[in-house]
Amino acid sequence: MVAYIIRRIFGMLLVLLAVSFIVYFIFIVIPGGDPAQRIAGKVATQANILAIRQKLGLDRSFIVQWYDLVKALFTAKLVSYSNQTNVVGQIKQGLPATFSLAIGAGIIWFGFGVLVGTISAVTAGRISDRAITALALIGISMPVAWLGLILRFFLAGDGGSGVSWFPDGSYVPLTSNPAQWFYHLILPWFTLAVLFIGFYGRVLRSNILDTINEDFVRTAKAKGLSTHRILVKHVLRASLIPIVTLFGLDFASVLGGGAIITETVYNLHGVGWYAAQSIQSEDLPPLMGVTLFGAMFIVVFSLLVDIAYAYLDPRIRLS
């Protein structure tokens, strides 16, 4: 098991290296034209451009450039050229909001997803199942941006409808006011969670219905175990394994700034929000930084998920 983990960590580092290369490729090579001008952004001066060219070694060879880029990223020296701020610093500032959003939403969507999926499967074919399936389908069909705006419209201060049950976005740090922190995050949590609850609920329902037909469940019934025990210890145990895998990766994605739209709609100044701002100004260094940041989370969580999987399924462990 330990050897397995060590091997995977090496693999992970290799992947991160490859990821940094891809980031480089995307931002420098693909667009063509003059990279320095591009990085300098829209309001660049000639002096900026020359400085960038020299700093990034754009007059040097391909590999050296890449190496310099990676070094700049990791030593936190990557700087945005349109407003002279340090990218890594900005990302750090966005962490509290992004993490608060991710962790809260993650707990909600996992908990409700499992609940909803289980109820739906156990009452398959009946009204509760049909209703849940319909709601889940609607949930996964709505664009997140629109859902967020609609909720703000109807339930938050912005509301043209006059109802003001919730504050209209923006992030209150946990340390300054826990109650407000929570209150401001309710709508964003819900918005982000809806899509996932719908999706996870359906996947779990499908898994459970498949597992119920497995031979070992038939054996469990034949042993005379109670329905409750069969459901929890045999059916759910098997059905949840793929969900855990999915959750690991989705959660990593959101932690890494993948909830850009939710953060933008609710004006939560997190990592994703930071990336969204940079799109408008075509400011590339922040995008490079956030992309790498997000990829890093996914790669690390991939490893964690694989380890968890090995723990949950002994056949993997011992092979």
Binding site: W146, G160, V254, G258, T291
Partner: protein, 376 residues
Amino acid sequence: MQAAPPPNVFESVATTGQEEFTLDTAAELAAEEGATQIQGKSPWVLAGRRLRRNYVALAFLGVFLLVVVCCLLAPVYVSQVSHIPQNDVRTGAVVVVSGKKVNVISQGGTKIVNGQPVIKFGGVPIGSQWGAAGGKYILGADELGRDVATRLLYGGRNSLFIGITSAAICTILSVVLALVSAYFGGIVDWIISRFFDLIWAFPVVLLGIALGTALSVNGFHHGPINISSGSLWIPIGVISFVFIPYIGRPLRGQVLALRNREFIEAATAQGAGPVRIMFSELLPNVASSVLVLFTLIVANSILTEVGLSFLGAGVQLPNPSWGTMIQEGSRLLSTAPQISLFPGIAIALTVLSLNVFGDGLRDALDPRAKIRIEHG
């Protein structure tokens, strides 16, 4: 080609070409015992029969097709109903509503800044008129006085075009990659799997905006390909690329499972080359998965395009798309909700239809026949 039947424990029983004793597994009871009537009919015919009985799925397929047709008929809408061309900026205009003259954009109107019309503070576009203005501004106006309904249809054209085309390109690429990867194995498989892994390592939206932004800065001008930065092919390329592992990985797994079955050995022994084996033997066996995945990817592509365009990394203004419309309307949410509201409804309806139909398709293609209540 049919897959070989499972090996018989009594190897010495020769087949006379007719039925021999087959092994029963207790779990497949009811399906087996009812199955003898459907012997001889191909799985596709059976699937078609099941699908035809699924009225809900067919109804939603109809809804989707209706949406597509409506969007295609956008020019007809303009010429027959609204008489306001798509990009006609009518900020200062006046429209007749129930006999009275009303400003399209009231309370302040617009001014020209840098050659672009900009709403003066407090300017409110006219809301949904429905029938009151005789076909104009049925769903209201947007911040530049354009007809929302018209833009909804034209935007739909773009969003649907991008969604369907990306899904098609993605599916074709993924299928080929999965087949090649699983068939050849070895180093080829390793490279393609690492390729999948690398794309998979990025959060979808982040990768999308990274690629989308990088490409829209200057367009794509390498080798023989020249795509300008406002082209729709940029979001199409980005979205097709991003979803490759979502089809490629599951398919590769399925093809791998088939790779070592006897019927492939048999085909190879008959002299079939790699291309024939991949496309005539392996592909038909995963065809139903490909179909279902395709439907789901269309739905996801549309949603992704909306997200990317909303953030500014997808369809570029002034091209309309459902995503850009939502973004445009987000600033005027309290005063002119119609700008964001209707595109969202259109998207939700379209994607929902695709999802419901996709579900129905999956149920129809599932080889384990479902058992349903019948009376008696």
